[in-house]
Symmetry: C2
Subunit: 240 residues, 2 copies
């Protein structure tokens, strides 16, 4: 039986052997939630890049460009990191290049894996189904906040372990802790996260509605995966 | 009001500014529990060192030498890492040099802090009282297991946060998660930890009794702190 492990920060990734594994990259607030939303609203492919300048250069290839630093949209980019800004036809039929403080870093540092899947609560079931099909050992790579542990990515890891506990083994401490925390939080994740200074800092940036949106389960049947140099959606869109 | 934060691994320590802070170094299974036990049984000072050869050299200065790697006592040392081997007068009046897989590394990497305190469940109350007196910002440095997150050190961080929640602020995600996990586990920490493959691996080394021992709260009024080049006990021994 394949196994699930959780890496709480990109800063710990060197301790994990990604070869032959499936990585689920997660940055709930908000990079991976936003990418899933972009695909659900018609984006054709997404280029996650680490640096602002690299991202800007994609404009020359006809891409929309998106950038966030410290929770705020960076200047001179088409889009920021709020999922709502990717709705209403804005990204329909378009390629998007995106760079964020934490999420795009987690994705790009995971490229050595056999498969890299983009995870969020919004597409939790699609991710779980895909992992069941693959039957590879799974490592959930939490983006964290500037290298440190964060709760919302951990809750996602716990939710995924909860979905997969019949079909995968997980006896390592990080996965067990994630599952316990998800079980404590799932009745009201928003209230659970409200204690967090990190989440309150994001709330102060007027993204209260973003947070509520990003905690919804299974809104989209979208499955972004890394292929060659970009993310593409392996699934269709079930509902908008 | 001073604050508490938790660093889940020595591999994340570079993200924390230790200057002017109090670090509580913790390796519940078993380095810091064992050091507290050694002081409770009469050790005069402890030299925590990172390398086996460095540890061996302390024998020339009249120290007992203790070494553990991968859960097992290293060859040609006086002592291993089981707290029981430090009882019955063995360390009475002696200096001990010790190196372990995770714990001594966490201690030595924390030297930049204003104060470094050795924490374990065995001396939880003494540590909490000392931190209340100091009124410095606190960082709990979990030794983890070979750089990865572990549950038992996290439960200690949660127990300490629980003790100090009237007198310190903690809104960061790692401390909140630790407190939630401690609250879920505290009714039966041994049962909680039994799910962990890391703890089961230790159990297979016949340290079942060590684990139960190390989870006992407030057995000793011992307060090991770093001074210059060694650990000394700031408190007396309340009970043996």
């Amino acid at each position: 039986m394949a196994s699930i492990d959780v890496c709480y920060s990109p800063e710990l990734l060197h301790l994990y052997d990604l070869e032959g594994k499936a990585v689920v990259a997660v940055d709930i607030l908000r990079a991976t939630s936003t990418m899933v939303t972009a695909f659900a609203h018609g984006a054709t492919d997404i280029f996650p890049v680490m640096e602002l300048e690299e991202c800007r250069a994609y404009a020359g290839q006809g891409c929309l460009t998106a950038a966030e630093r410290n929770g705020i949209k960076a200047e001179d980019f088409d889009l920021g990191n709020s999922p709502f800004s990717y709705m209403n036809g804005v990204v329909q039929g378009r390629s998007v290049a995106i760079t964020t403080t934490n999420g795009t870093r987690a994705i790009r540092l995971s490229e050595a894996a056999e498969e890299v899947v983009i995870g969020s609560f919004l597409n939790l079931q699609s991710v779980a189904d895909h992992l069941r099909d693959l039957q590879l050992d799974v490592i959930v790579v939490c983006a964290g906040w500037k290298g440190k542990f964060n709760l919302e990515d951990t809750l996602f890891a716990g939710a995924l372990a909860d979905c997969l506990q019949q079909d995968f083994t997980f006896e390592n401490d990080a996965t067990l802790a994630s599952l316990h925390l998800y079980q404590a939080a799932k009745a009201d994740m928003f209230a659970f996260l409200k204690q967090s200074s990190h989440v309150r800092r994001l709330e102060n940036l007027n993204i209260h509605e973003d947070i509520k949106y990003c905690l919804q389960h299974n809104l989209y049947d979208v499955l972004p995966v890394w292929r060659h140099d970009r993310l593409v959606d392996l699934a269709g869109v079930k509902k908008l």
